[in-house]
């Protein structure tokens, strides 16, 4: 739940938090090296998707009908602002001092001028939002991911990012200030609201995929790599494999 980032197109990665499987398609053998735990992962993926379909989506759909988009945006600003210690802290741990400085400024501006974080004037002032977490910090320092892993309720991950998730869960703002019941209510609100903002994206991603499990796995892996490298596109070494046309004789042409 902690890694509920606000970036909507983290939705692509996030799709995974609310995942689904096509249980009809038997686990293919070809992907064994990327995903040695595939049979187990597919089962958990299927389970998560049941939870999503029968609990989260119905609640989020009602939420989305009641809440104006503007309110949803304010709430996601608010919860995003509370992630400040994770974002700034992990920026620091990766030696991104300028970025962490900007995050401090962003938190200060949005907490005050932005009325407790419900509004985001900072983005307009050049203090843009960053996406950092401890899984990325570990990746930044060269820690390998380990095998792809689908966590119950939490969705796509790997051993490295699971450690990251656990570490980050100790470092949001609110555990220090509020009672347990409020914390649960806050987490619940964050989850439902985030899911509500992603209804359309997830539905589309599902409809577009031929094997939803594989589509989510691939999106998660690509997205995490891009986040660690702080880039929006494809890395140079993958680029060569991805964009080289194989001609009919098996020779590659540029």
């Amino acid at each position: 739940m902690k890694a509920l980032t606000r970036r909507a197109l983290a939705s692509v990665a996030l799709v995974g938090w609310f995942c689904c499987a096509s249980p009809v398609l038997a686990a293919p053998s070809g992907a064994a090296k990327h995903d040695p735990l595939e049979p187990m992962n597919r089962k958990i993926f299927w389970f998560n998707n049941q939870v999503d379909d029968y609990v989260l989506v119905p609640v989020a759909t009602v939420w989305d009908k009641i809440m104006p988009k503007r309110v949803e945006k304010c709430l996601s600003n608010f919860f995003g602002n509370l992630r400040f210690p994770i974002v700034a802290g992990n920026g620091l741990l990766q030696g991104k001092f300028k970025q962490a400085g900007s995050d401090v400024g962003r938190f200060a501006v949005n907490t005050t001028v932005g009325l407790a974080g419900f509004f985001d004037p900072a983005s307009g002032w050049g203090l843009e939002e960053h996406n950092e977490d401890f899984g990325q910090t570990l990746g930044y320092w060269g820690v390998g991911t380990g095998p792809y892993l689908v966590l119950p309720f939490l969705g796509p991950s790997n051993p490295r990012d699971t450690v990251g998730l656990a570490a980050d869960s100790f470092s949001t703002v609110y555990p220090f200030f509020v009672e347990f019941e409020y914390l649960v209510a806050a987490r619940g609100t964050d989850l439902i609201n985030t899911r509500a903002t992603l209804l359309q994206e997830v539905r589309q991603f599902k409809a577009a995929s031929f094997d939803y499990y594989v589509a989510v796995r691939n999106a998660y892996i690509q997205r995490r790599k891009a986040l660690i490298a702080d880039r929006s596109g494809v890395s140079a070494q993958e680029s060569e494999d991805l964009y080289t046309i194989q001609d009919d004789n098996g020779e590659s042409e540029p």
Binding site: L9, P28, G30, F210, R231, G233, Y243, I245, Q246, P254
Partner: protein, 210 residues
Amino acid sequence: MQRNHRTRTKAVIAALLLAPVLALSGPTTARAAEGPRDVVQQTTDAVLAVLANKSLTADQKRTKIQDIVYDRFDFRTLSRLVLARNWRRLSHEQQNEFVQEFKQNLSTTYGRNVETYNNERAEITGDRKEPGGDWTVKTKIIRPNAADILVDYRLRQEDGVWKVIDVIIEGVSLVANYRSQFQEIVSNEGPAKLIQMLREKNAKGEPMKS
């Protein structure tokens, strides 16, 4: 007040008269010299103009956008990249059929977005040359009540014309994502099965309810 109003009317009439002329001169004269950045700029501008046009029905918008996008994307290259090594396992006819069905599939899937357009804007944030000669144009989709989305377009030049060969959304490449799914289908069940799946998906591709 009166004068002001009249000047405005004149300007609007002038613009209306000029528009068809500009529209005609656009594709023919500017085309040859267009860089990858221009291609992305013009394509996003044209698509957004259609989306924002309240006088068009959803179907009319879809058709118009399809025309714009079909002209700017190289679906054959995109298909070959998606299938990678498996491309050679398809017969010549299967290859053509795959390109056609895949193109149709992308169009049906993403054409659904027409209904949910909500004053999004697009902004080009940068571009760079890639080692192989391709070009990447980086854009940001700005949504009024939601987070921005980073979208990169990869373009390749064919016969002097730059065309889009991949779309990368928040670091997730469309080509890579479809490749991962198709690879398993083709290696486990063969290319005919993949084409059949595409055809079935397209047949029931009615616009999604939201």
